[in-house]
């Protein structure tokens, strides 16, 4: 047992345990980052070296050829980047509007039907129609097959985020603020946009980041609904080139690039380079935003 004198700070382990704990956490943390570093190394490997030696951490020969080819022939990459950015921005803005309006309304005690609508949203967390009916409604009734809205709308609203935001509104927005707005003669929408939203920014930031991540990483809706190569998002493009690089030439504007390019293209390393380019923005950005995710995850775990 550590003596009191030795551990003046009560929150301290014995040195042996401290080293052990550092090793456990450090090694696991390394294991989490390692595959990304590995793929990055592969993308900078010379294709012939890679074909001969397999995927290696220490390539005999480095090369930028993969990136050169992608930027020369990869109109599809740019196109898919554009699709993903568009879907992410529009989707996140729509999500914020839909979710915050709904959550605010059901957080207000003066709203007579709040319990009905709260249940209306909550019930969707307990029961759902399943994939096939959703697919049929989306394609046959809403007609979203091969539409960019099929990438946006299915992810717009989520009962779980509504619950998080409702908790946020009812705990963080004092009634006095809303009353003062009423006395000043503001309407409900005026109060919401001018008084409530500025106070709710931290909560909105959390929802916005979850939503951004959801849209950026989505491939499932593209797998279900999208055939047209001009609206294939990044993650889905990566899926489609898993077995053949052919796909990235579908959208090329340059007629002189044909099968020739494909044959001379460093296929394996280009694939890895695309993984790096698709993941790069997230890997660079998340360390700065992680506290919002932690906040959201912890709020989400606590009811009301």
């Amino acid at each position: 047992m550590a003596s009191l004198a030795k551990s003046r700070d009560f929150h301290r382990l014995s040195p042996v345990w401290n080293v052990t704990f550092n090793l456990i956490a450090g090694l696991f943390s390394l294991a989490c980052v390692f595959p990304f570093l590995f793929v990055m190394i592969l993308s900078f490997t010379d294709e012939k070296t890679l074909a001969r030696n397999g995927y290696s951490l220490f390539p005999e020969k480095w090369s930028l050829a993969a990136y050169e080819y992608i930027f020369k022939a990869g109109d599809q990459l740019l196109r898919s980047y554009g699709v993903t950015i568009f879907v992410t921005v529009v989707g996140t803005v729509l999500s914020l509007i839909f979710i915050s309006l709904f959550a605010y309304a059901i957080s207000r005690k003066s709203f007579k039907y709040r319990t009905y609508f709260a249940f209306f949203a909550f019930f969707t967390m307990l029961f759902n129609g399943g994939l096939v009916p959703t697919y049929i409604v989306t394609t046959k009734l809403l007609g979203l097959q091969n539409s960019i809205w099929a990438l946006i709308l299915p992810l717009t609203v989520n009962a779980f985020y509504i619950m998080i935001m409702r908790t946020f509104f009812s705990t963080m927005i004092p009634d006095a603020i809303i009353e003062s707005g009423k006395i000043d003669g503001a309407g409900e929408f005026g109060i919401f946009f001018r008084l409530v939203i500025p106070l709710a920014l931290p909560g909105l930031a959390t929802i916005a980041l979850f939503s951004t991540l959801g849209y950026w990483n989505d491939w499932f809706n593209a797998l279900l609904y999208i055939e047209d190569p001009s609206i294939v998002p990044l993650q889905s493009m990566l899926m489609r080139i898993e077995n053949s690089m052919q796909f990235i030439l579908q959208n090329t504007n340059n007629p002189s690039l044909g099968m020739g390019v494909l044959q001379s293209m460093p296929q394996d390393t280009s694939r890895m380079a695309m993984v790096v380019l698709a993941t790069g923005p997230i890997v660079l950005a998340y360390p700065f935003f992680q506290r919002y995710f932690i906040q959201g995850l912890t709020v989400g775990a606590v009811k009301e």
């Binding site: 059901i106 009916p133 409604v137 694939r271």
Partner: protein, 311 residues
Amino acid sequence: MKALGRHLKDINRNKAMLLMVLPASLWFICFSYLPMLGTIISFKEYRFSGSFLSSIINSKWVGFDNFKFLFRTDDAYIITRNTILYNAVFIFIGLVLAVAMAIVLSEIANKRLAKWYQTGMFMPYFLSWVIVGYFVYSFLSYDRGMINKIAIALGADPTQWYSEPKYWPLIIVLVFLWKSLGYNSVIYLAAIMGIDKSLYEAAMIDGANKWQQIRNITLPMLTPLMTILTLLAIGRIFYADFGLFYQVTRDSGTLYSVTNVIDTYVYRGLKTTGEIGMSTAAGLYQSFVGFVLVITSNYIVRRFNKDNALF
């Protein structure tokens, strides 16, 4: 008449709020409630004809035939078994390791280093299953993958990983833990940080060592959160993570015996084999059992401790 008048007055008084809930309510109708009604086609022989409504109405009723066919095959047993067993393992090992890792992180003396570890292990949470699929492939590829290269260097034979079912239960559990452990432990870490420090000070004065503090303060204080998160997970034990079982396995047919789960089965029924009726039936079976499980587990927790229940 009077009642109707009062109703209209109420609606008028709440019209701003009703306008606010309108967009998301329309969304819920289109993407949640209409599909719920659409589960009716699991009792029909679905034929697409004309519009959405007419094809549902005109399809022939077949009663429970789709369910009978589904449960007559081995598939129903295999997908149910796989879904539940994987999730049970995920829930149990995931809980133990996440709490352990959170405690490890909270006890590390150098707080800045702990923050770095936390950031590192949080990274997989931000990656899509497509990317994870590529990562796994860089290790398991037959001719180029790292694992086979190491095996050859050690004098062993390379393995066709993507066609050997026996390895996949382990691979899937490892990949799942790799992706989820970081963020689960971050949730528990946040809870540990919220524990009143004076409890530990009091324990120190009473002569409790670190391990006694963890057992008698940290773990009991985490119990409500562990209960809620586990309950949520048990409520979803009938739902598998589609990406994990589809992308990471590269949808390899030889692995289906150990990688086919309800969600992948439903997807293939819809997109590959075209068995719409059976596929819808499997989806409804999933939703229905899932619903019963959430209600039951919530009821059980409610009886022990009302505060830990979801509703």
